[in-house]
């Protein structure tokens, strides 16, 4: 029930364009643009709602009520916040590098949006089904480091600069285990295509075949989106807000929204690579595939938020030591064990 809502809309749009006599190439282009626009609108709206979810979960963990005034149960609180930020002035300090300073908050939303273009939101619901999807997401994800640094450097502020350098050091250190942990799954499936990886999990989800890789990916992912316990980048008690210190109004909001966007990308990747993507557990197909995908993604997002409100921040030396001395060797060992295991598995001939 409801399984074919979205694919059905795409099909009927295609049929309508065909009926209107639009040439096939142009109609494919129109359908693609509609798909991508739908994803962009969904992600932007969803990010606003994630801020509300975060505040409610924080309130629950701290025995408070949380936002409850604007709209029913406070549901419109973040909408009001965004409208307020839109109306605020974007202050440009005198000695900043103006172009870079203004470009950074615009560009920072680009890498997560590019990643969303290949994510399958349900069975056959990837806007673009790329055969190197996993690699593509890693490649566009690596671009965000330099954009955060642009903001930190151009602000011409000590705190921003320290925060910007922390972004670079942290993201470079944790990108290595992030990539290496996915290699185990890729070795098992022998493909880089997201759709094929999800389909390969029909028997067992890879969280059971690759539990260590899942843990490494999740920890490195938390670090990659700069959230507690790895939020040294914007450690409020040390460096005010890191690279975002000088920003105000919508420019500041863009950084916050991008953080939630990146968190969604990591959650989607965890779901796709380890939790079986859109596949229903135990053959419970009474819910449509896209609904299962969202349940899993929101479960991952909830764990992100849970960790954020229950753990303290770690020190810089602990952060880098943990990354290089624990996560990298562990992920290399995981690759080795996976390779040996695959050979033993074949030798036994199961």
């Amino acid at each position: 029930m409801g399984e074919n809502i979205f694919t059905g809309i795409a099909e009927s749009l295609r049929a309508f364009l065909y009926g209107a006599g639009v040439p096939p190439l142009a109609s494919e282009l129109i359908v693609l643009i509609v798909k991508l626009l739908a994803v962009i609108i969904f992600v932007s709206l969803n990010v606003v709602w994630l801020v509300y979810m975060e505040r409610k979960i924080a309130a629950y963990i701290q025995c408070r009520i949380g936002p409850n005034r604007v709209g029913p149960k406070g549901l419109l609180q973040t909408v009001a916040d965004v409208v307020k930020l839109l109306a605020k002035e974007i202050i440009i300090p005198r000695r900043v590098d103006k172009v870079v300073y203004l470009a950074a908050p615009i560009l920072v939303f680009v890498p997560p949006m590019l990643a969303f273009a290949v994510i399958p939101w349900g069975d056959g619901m990837a806007p673009i089904d790329l055969n190197i999807g996993v690699f593509y997401i890693l490649a566009v994800g690596s671009l965000s480091t330099i954009i955060f640094w642009m903001g930190g450097w151009s602000s011409n502020n000590k705190y921003s600069l320290v925060g910007g350098m922390r972004v670079v050091a942290q993201m470079v250190s944790y990108e290595l285990p992030l990539v290496l942990s996915l290699l185990g799954v890729i070795m098992l499936t022998g493909t880089l295509s997201i759709t094929e990886i999800v389909n390969a999990q029909r028997g067992t989800w890879f969280i059971f075949a690759q539990p260590l890789a899942f843990l490494i990916y999740f920890i490195a992912g938390v670090s990659e989106v700069n959230r507690v316990p790895f939020d040294l980048v914007e450690g409020e008690s040390e460096i005010i807000a890191g690279p975002y210190t000088e920003y105000s109004g919508m420019a500041y909001a863009m950084y916050m929204l991008a953080e939630y966007g990146n968190m969604m990308v990591i959650s989607c990747m965890c779901t796709i690579m380890f939790l079986g993507g859109w596949l229903a557990p135990f053959g419970w197909t009474f819910l449509p595939s896209w609904f299962w995908f969202f349940i899993k993604v929101y479960l991952m997002i909830f764990i992100f938020m849970w960790i954020r409100w229950t753990y303290p921040r770690i020190r810089v030396d602990q952060l880098l030591g943990f990354g290089w001395k624990v996560l990298v060797p562990l992920s290399l060992a995981n690759i080795f064990v996976t390779g040996v295991g695959m050979y033993i598995y074949r030798a036994i001939g199961w």
Binding site: V100, N131, L138, A139, L143, W149, E175
Partner: protein, 173 residues
């Protein structure tokens, strides 16, 4: 139809690459140079995409725009200079540079003109990753392993340097 759009994409990307590469060299502020370098690398990735080499395009973005630029950022941050306006120095050897560039252009133009450009007999396969992996681990396995050993040596060297610094600190205490 398709050919026209490929040509348009090629010329747009080529113009972006040339302009951003020039800006990398010409700009006085080295941070701006790095940012234009990233633009240059990303447009190079686009150029690979027009050739249907999607894997190479992703590698280009991941390795060059994502990692090499960051290495340059580390380099910049280790430099101390009060005025950022004069970090990317220009040594005014324009005449010698013009001569070398003219020579390179002539040689490249001559080679391009004399090469018999044959269009490939078969279309680019849809999945390039498998073919790259296969050729890398069969025909080109020795260069591949040599590169791996090179990286290992660099890694050991980096660890050695880091250890040395620690020892020196211990003596100072």
């Amino acid at each position: 139809m398709e050919g026209i759009w490929t040509a348009v994409a090629f010329y747009l990307l080529a113009a972006t690459i040339v302009v951003s590469a020039l800006l990398v060299v010409m700009l006085k502020n080295i941070v701006h140079s790095v940012l234009w370098l990233a633009v240059c690398f990303v447009s190079m990735g686009g150029l690979f995409l027009t050739l249907d080499a999607d894997f190479l395009a992703a590698v280009q973005v991941l390795v060059y725009a994502g990692a090499v630029c960051i290495m340059v950022v580390f380099g910049i941050m280790l430099i101390q200079r009060g005025n950022m306006g004069s970090t990317n120095l220009f040594n005014n050897q324009t005449k010698a540079a013009a001569g070398v560039v003219a020579l390179v252009l002539v040689v490249c133009g001559y080679l391009a003109a004399t090469t018999p450009w044959a269009s490939p007999a078969f279309a680019v396969p849809e999945k390039t990753v498998e073919s790259i992996a296969e050729i890398m681990l069969t025909k080109y396995v020795i260069p591949f392993e040599v590169a791996a050993i090179l990286l290992l040596v660099a890694l050991v060297g980096a660890i050695f340097l880091a250890k040395e610094v620690k020892k020196a600190d211990a003596h100072n205490d």
